[in-house]
Symmetry: C2
Subunit: 167 residues, 2 copies
DNA sequence: CGATATAGTTAGCTTTGCTAAATATTATCG
DNA sequence: CGATAATATTTAGCAAAGCTAACTATATCG
């Protein structure tokens, strides 16, 4: 019945893609006021809620390349949101941690994007809010499937920037 | 009542944002194989399904600035996905239309992103698929709310291309 | 007609992503 | 032990996609 795809594609794919694109495009504007851009904020969030970690671990968590994370970390550091030190056990490794200011920023919900998104969600009808809430676990699993396939697709073996090895 | 927010933010805001970010980040990789990037594909999609339109209209539909759409249109044209002609009624205006090749591209579902997304959706449990499908109208309205607020926020009046001269 | 508004373009900057290659450090093996 | 390999990060350089400011060409209006 409904899962019969018209031309090989699930009917939800296109709208979901489109909505996600627009959502982020609209939210990007909120960053400007905050002075912390999307990529930085996202990395910072991982750092605040996940605790200090190496650049490689952060790059993996954020699904970006090592050089990209190097740059993001430099910017976060320069702006006072993160601090780096050499890892005890391994001098190659950097231990990046969020500063108290960053923790305050994130914990206080001063994130412009999320405030804007939150306000918009609140403006919806209760049924709409409910539908979105109900879809979140499914979206989470969807992202997991994609992530799994992406890493499967390019050589099962990692080698990117080190694999699962926290200290 | 039910939306008792912890710190002023709706609990759905953060996961929704995070999932959207990851989703697009993962899908972006599919573009490369196709040779049509995200922004171009999205604009092209509007063109294919919405019919020929001016650059201004397309910029508004895509929520990007006029120069950005100028560039996208040039690239689409150069790559053979779009064609331009001067509008009959108004020589300032450009009428951009999708080429047959673009229509084939989109209609055949040869879009790498959407194929990947579609495949991932299909790998989900039926309940998850259902939850995502059920949330789409709500997401649509969410984006509308955001869009509305964005345009309210900067200069009530439309005038999406011509930027108001400041004295 | 001339002033002003509109549609699009050009120029130039920023952010964020990438790959390839360099550097520093640690691990391993003969 | 020392040469070699692997790992973590950085540097350098490129591209996409976004923006604003300023310019050109065309319409419109008083």
């Amino acid at each position: 019945m409904p899962s019969r795809r018209a031309r090989g594609q699930d009917p939800a794919a296109e709208p979901l893609h489109r909505h996600a694109l627009r959502l982020l495009r609209l939210l990007r504007r909120e960053d400007e006021a905050l002075g912390v851009s999307a990529a930085r904020l996202s990395a910072l969030s991982v750092l605040v809620f996940g605790g200090p970690m190496s650049l490689g671990a952060l790059a993996e968590a954020e699904q970006v390349s090592a050089p990209t994370m190097t740059r993001l970390a430099q910017e976060l550091e320069r702006e006072g949101w993160a601090r780096r030190e050499v890892a005890d056990a391994d001098a190659r490794r950097v231990r990046l941690s969020a500063t108290p200011a960053a923790m305050r920023l994130l914990r206080r919900g001063r994130d412009g994007r999320l405030d804007a998104l939150s306000a918009a969600i609140d403006a919806l009808a209760p049924d709409d809010r409910k539908a979105i809430g109900a879809a979140l676990p499914a979206l989470d699993r969807l992202v997991q499937v994609l992530q799994q396939r992406a890493s499967d697709a390019r050589g099962d073996l990692p080698s990117r920037t080190g694999r699962r090895r926290l200290d």
